[in-house]
């Protein structure tokens, strides 16, 4: 009797099902997904409405702050969607069961990417609708460029999320605050609300190594000058490919180290 059906996709599907159950079973989690992005939009929306009449910079493109806030949240949610969802396995002391099953570490990473995408679409989607209803800013008018911006930012979030998950696998849940701290460390260098030319030269060099800096440059190019900065988008994609590969390598390496040091059975709250 053949009882087993193999396949990476099936195992990833099972993990996605696990995270969807978690989401569906907890209304505070669903509300939380949309709450923070929406609060951000309310704040930046009022600020934009005020500044658009007092700033010649913003008068050229009234939605630029809202677009920046929405897109920044994509990276933030993308990162949390990987790292915090991974922490759920540690909170529930479930890693031992998971990795005693045929699930591979890279399949777990793949499932985390997909659930992160879903969570980000819910959270940022609600915030985008809010920005349209209350501030008449339809971010989807950016067209296909929005997809390129979105994908670049969420992939950068995934890369950071995997590194954070790896560090927690290495150092335990004491390191979980990295999930919140890591992304804010690069925020000032990403040129979210201002061009990176305002940064000191040394920091500009660092900023040029961040895909987010090119993404927000492309966003401003589109909103202020109505041009698509393909070069910036491709640079962001190329750097992201490197970062994602590094993120996966760090995660797989820490997973192997966890098998050496016996952490898969012991890690938990």
């Amino acid at each position: 009797m053949t009882e087993h059906r193999g396949g990476s996709l099936r195992r990833m599907g099972a993990m996605i099902e696990r995270y969807v159950y978690l989401l569906k079973g907890s209304w505070p989690r669903i509300i939380e997904l949309a709450y923070w992005p929406t609060m951000q939009i309310i704040l930046w929306g009022f600020l934009s409405e005020y500044l658009v009449h007092h700033s010649s910079y913003l008068a050229q493109a009234s939605g630029v702050l809202l677009a920046a806030a929405l897109l920044w949240d994509v990276m933030f949610r993308g990162q949390l969607g990987v790292s915090v969802v991974f922490f759920e396995e540690l909170y529930s002391r479930n890693l031992g069961h998971l990795f005693a099953s045929p699930l591979r570490a890279h399949e777990l990473a793949g499932a985390l990417f997909i659930i992160s995408l879903l969570r980000t679409l819910i959270g940022s989607g609600m915030a985008a609708l809010f920005a349209y209803w209350f501030y008449h800013f339809p971010i989807w008018q950016m067209g296909f460029v929005l997809i390129a911006l979105f994908m670049n930012l969420i992939v950068m979030g995934w890369a950071i999320g995997l590194v954070v998950a790896g560090l927690v696998l290495r150092y335990g849940l004491g390191a979980e605050n990295l999930a919140w701290a890591a992304i804010f460390a690069i925020a000032p260098l990403s040129g979210i609300y201002y061009p990176i030319s305002v940064l000191p030269h040394a920091l500009q060099v660092v900023a040029h190594a961040l895909p987010a800096a090119y993404v927000f440059e492309a966003m401003r190019g589109l909103l202020f000058h109505h041009v698509v900065l393909y070069r910036s988008l491709w640079k962001a994609a190329a750097i992201n490919a490197v970062y994602l590969a590094l993120g996966i390598a760090v995660f797989l390496r820490t997973f192997r180290d966890a098998r050496v040091h016996g952490r898969l059975l012991n890690l938990g709250e």
Partner: protein
């Protein structure tokens, strides 16, 4: 190694820096037989089980499980084995049914719904399927975890203290079910337990571990006779307290 060996372990050791958790362990387990790992806390039982699943990499030694080199071909082996331990939980917020569905998916179980119904009936979980795992009593959690361990009809079952938190009646029924499953399926079972009656009742052979090393091994009745004691518990106490004449 015999053709029918479920496990063949040779010179297995695990060291953490200067601490030796398991040293030079060698043993075989034939399919269809039950091996007990006996030892006090820190004797190396859970470490050994973790290495048999590939959750923990040994420092030295080789492990063959169901004919495969576990260290090289872990993913050929894992769909055919499973485990249960009171020290590893299932996701608390998922119901028992959701947990079993997820693990059925991970193990690629065909006709998962009927397998879950079957296990729920056999393990008296029918009334608990829609309850979150985190809201179960300790004994109910043990039964749910046991259902997860059997979801893929494993050919090798690794159990760490499977009846630790069960009342005597439920523990007895679970042991009976385990024995029936093992005899019907021909699965090999490794059982780490502190419950000597359980070990005497279920195990064909026992390995007694002390400080990560094999202290003695044999059939439970043979060990009791060898040490001139009345029960395996007395033999265990002799070993744990260093009173053995060996």
């Amino acid at each position: 190694m015999s053709e029918s060996a479920a496990i063949s372990v040779t010179d297995l050791s695990k060291r953490y820096g200067t601490v030796t958790a398991v040293a030079s362990l060698s043993f075989d387990l034939e399919s269809g037989r039950v091996l007990g790992l006996l030892g006090g806390n820190g004797a190396g039982k859970t470490t050994t089980l973790a290495m048999l699943m590939g959750l923990l990499l040994p420092t030295t030694g080789s492990i063959r499980v169901l004919g495969e080199d576990l260290l090289r071909h872990r993913y050929r082996v894992l769909p055919r084995i499973n485990f249960s331990s009171p020290y590893v939980d299932l996701p608390h917020r998922l119901t028992v049914h959701q947990n079993l569905r997820v693990y059925a998916g991970l193990y690629g179980v065909r006709k998962a719904a009927s397998r879950i119904r079957e296990l729920a009936r056999d393990l008296d979980l029918e009334g608990l399927l829609d309850r979150p795992y985190g809201r179960l009593s300790a004994g109910q959690k043990t039964r749910a975890s046991f259902a997860k361990a059997l979801i893929n009809r494993p050919q090798l079952l690794l159990l760490d203290e499977p009846t630790a938190s069960l009342d005597p009646d439920t523990a007895d029924r679970l042991r009976t079910y385990l024995r029936d499953y093992q005899q019907a399926s021909g699965a090999g079972v490794v059982l780490a337990s502190h419950n000597m009656l359980e070990v005497e009742r279920l195990c064909d052979e026992v390995i007694m571990l002390r400080h990560g090393r094999i202290f003695d091994r044999g059939a439970p009745a043979d060990l009791v006779g060898k040490y001139g004691r009345e029960s395996l518990e007395e033999v265990f106490l002799d070993m744990a307290r260093g009173r053995s004449q060996l």
